[in-house]
């Protein structure tokens, strides 16, 4: 997903200028809900949301990525049982003639893939960060010990929001 930030800049200049105009300094309001400690983001625009016991999690691409990619016409899902390190390819999406890798946010093992995306790839555009049965999540994974350590390198929701706002300038 690393290239997609640039795609966004080129494809939607109006969005970029809106950001540029509206945010000189992002004031942080008090949020009503606590920052979800179990949800983290990568610089390449993937997310992982852990279960309460931190043994499993759901992985997908962020709304920011889904917007930047444009209409996703195909999702290549990872195979069950696939073991990956952080940063390894965990499937791919195709949009606008581009086969773009989805990378594992942490070291993990694939337990299940979201087969809804095979039938209806546009689900990933509609609800990319939703990990319910009808959501656009990509894979359910088992978190290894190494994976727990990898989490520390990732951004929480607030940090990711700032990161993407900065990317649009």
């Amino acid at each position: 997903m690393a290239s997609i930030a640039r795609c966004l800049r080129i494809a939607r200049p109006s969005v970029v200028s809106a950001f540029a105009q509206s945010s000189v300094r992002i004031a942080r309001p008090f949020s009503v809900t606590a920052n979800n400690e179990l949800r983290k983001y990568t610089r390449e625009h993937e997310w992982i949301e852990l279960s309460d016991d931190k043994k499993t999690g759901y992985v997908g691409i962020s709304s920011y990525a889904a917007k930047a990619l444009g209409d996703v016409v195909f999702v290549e899902l990872p195979e069950e049982g696939k073991e990956v390190q952080a940063g390894d390819a965990l499937g791919a999406v195709e949009s606008v003639k581009s086969a773009a890798d989805i990378n594992a946010p942490i070291s993990c093992k694939v337990i299940a893939s979201n087969l809804t995306l095979e039938e209806s790839p546009s689900t990933i555009n509609k609800v990319p960060e939703d990990h319910s049965a009808s959501g656009g999540w990509v894979a359910k994974v088992q978190v290894s010990e190494e994976g727990i350590k990898d989490l520390e390198k990732l951004m929480d929701e607030e940090a990711y929001k700032e990161f993407t706002a900065a990317e649009d300038h």
Partner: protein, 433 residues
């Protein structure tokens, strides 16, 4: 044939002609210019590897000496995976005649496989980037640029190729909204209709962005390209994955050497000065075939599971269905009036099969029962355990016969033959013979 001589900014001489090119390139130009001087800078060593030193240079240019599409794509993939993350790489290659489908496409839907079988010398390739189906031959040059994700832009290097074309007299060349390169009329100001001369596709990894494209310069097969890209199975197939978008095409009518030089010049103009390096065009080809990664890449690209098995789920049905209500062409087969044959396939393997309306020979004709049994049998492969692999079918006659193997009934010969003949045309196994 009128020839125009142009002096380029660097003092080299370029030759343009209209129509088929008779240009003979010379190697006597000044060695410091980018134009013809490039020929004198070609590295003559034929190392059997692409050294990491080379892959770490800020600006790299490679030209393939091989026409093997599988090798060229494997070299390209090696460059994508092993060039330094901050580097800018240009790779140029020409392929033997082949049909190239995108990563997530369906060969039975996109390609005239029987025509490929008949032609015998045309290869079928599935590339790793997205997009649609194209035809390559010696009149087409493929250009590929690999760069850091931070500067990735779908049009940036297509515009680079447009500049090269304009420098060569193709004044109406431009990039359209689909990131294709089109020309108006003959590209020199005669005619207004737009023709596609180059298509683009992309592969985006975590560290690198690859943009590659074709350029139809002087393909002798232009009139036949359409035939290879129109599948006789298309009326019956409904596929997930990516479908091609058709465009009218034409040749640019430029010599491949001229075009190649022009693209290298424009690439160096973008990056060489910026990084202050003296870039040589590296020739790579057959000699790197046995490099570990390249060998691995070729093995994958030439394998049947890759070419055929990487096909997203699809259905084949001889009659309209709820999912695919299109009207089908009228069939003239020796079958009952309720004839229907339907398959669902994943990874090129049959998941479900349904036949009805076959003509049987045998005792106590319970045709519905026979149809049901034949349907079940059809879904299985020859070992009765794993599913029938479409890409392993040599002749549908064998498959249909085996659907009633061991039964007291069988499909009548004439019914069997007429259905097989039709299926071999619209739904053949693989194209290898």
């Amino acid at each position: 044939m009128a020839a125009l001589l142009l002096r380029s900014a660097n003092g080299g001489i370029r030759c343009l002609t209209k129509g088929p090119a008779f240009i003979t390139t010379t190697t006597t130009a000044t060695s410091s210019s980018f134009g013809f001087g490039l020929l004198t800078k070609l590295r003559r060593s034929y190392s059997t590897t692409i050294s990491q030193d080379l892959l770490n240079k800020k600006v790299q240019v490679y030209q393939s000496t091989s026409k093997d599409p599988y090798l060229n794509l494997s070299i390209e993939h090696h460059l994508l995976q092993h060039s330094h993350p901050d580097s800018y790489v240009l790779f140029l290659y020409i392929n033997d005649p082949c049909v190239v489908i995108g990563r997530n496409q369906n060969p039975w839907l996109e390609v005239n496989l029987p025509a490929l079988q008949e032609a015998e010398d045309i290869k079928l390739v599935r590339r790793r980037s997205g997009g649609g189906t194209v035809f390559h031959d010696h009149g087409n040059v493929n250009w590929s640029v690999i760069c850091p994700p931070a500067v990735f832009d779908r049009d940036r290097h297509a515009e680079m190729v447009v500049r090269a074309l304009k420098d060569l007299g193709v004044t109406t060349a431009k990039v359209n909204e689909r990131h294709d390169i089109v020309i108006a009329g003959d590209g020199r100001g005669n005619g207004k209709d737009l023709f596609k001369v180059s298509g683009s596709a992309y592969k985006l990894t975590r560290l690198r962005s690859l943009h590659h494209g074709t350029c139809l310069l002087n393909s002798p097969r232009l009139k036949n390209i359409g035939k290879f890209l129109r599948s006789p199975g298309e009326p019956y197939i409904k596929a997930r994955g990516v479908e091609s978008v058709r465009s009218p095409i034409r040749n640019v009518d430029i010599n491949t050497d001229e075009f190649t030089k022009g693209v290298v010049d424009e690439f160096l103009a973008m990056y060489q000065e910026q990084f202050g390096e003296d870039v040589k065009v590296e020739r790579v080809g057959e000699e790197v075939k046995d490099m570990g990664n390249i060998r691995k890449g070729m093995d994958e690209l030439t394998s049947i599971p890759w070419i055929y098995g990487q096909t997203p789920q699809f259905t084949f049905s001889s009659r309209p269905t709820e999912d695919d209500p299109r009207e089908r062409p009228a069939l003239d087969l020796d079958v009952q009036s309720d004839f229907n044959i339907e398959f669902t396939l994943r990874h090129g393997e049959v998941q479900t099969a349904n036949v009805s309306g076959l003509k049987y020979e045998g005792p106590a004709m319970d045709e519905d029962l026979y149809d049901g049994m034949a349907s079940q049998a059809l879904a299985k492969g020859s070992d009765d355990e794993s599913p029938l692999k479409l890409y392993e079918i040599q002749d549908w006659v064998t498959v249909l016969k085996s659907a009633t193997a061991g039964q007291a009934f069988k499909v009548s010969d004439s019914s069997l033959n007429s259905i097989s003949e039709w299926l071999n045309k619209v739904f053949p196994g693989n194209h290898f013979r």
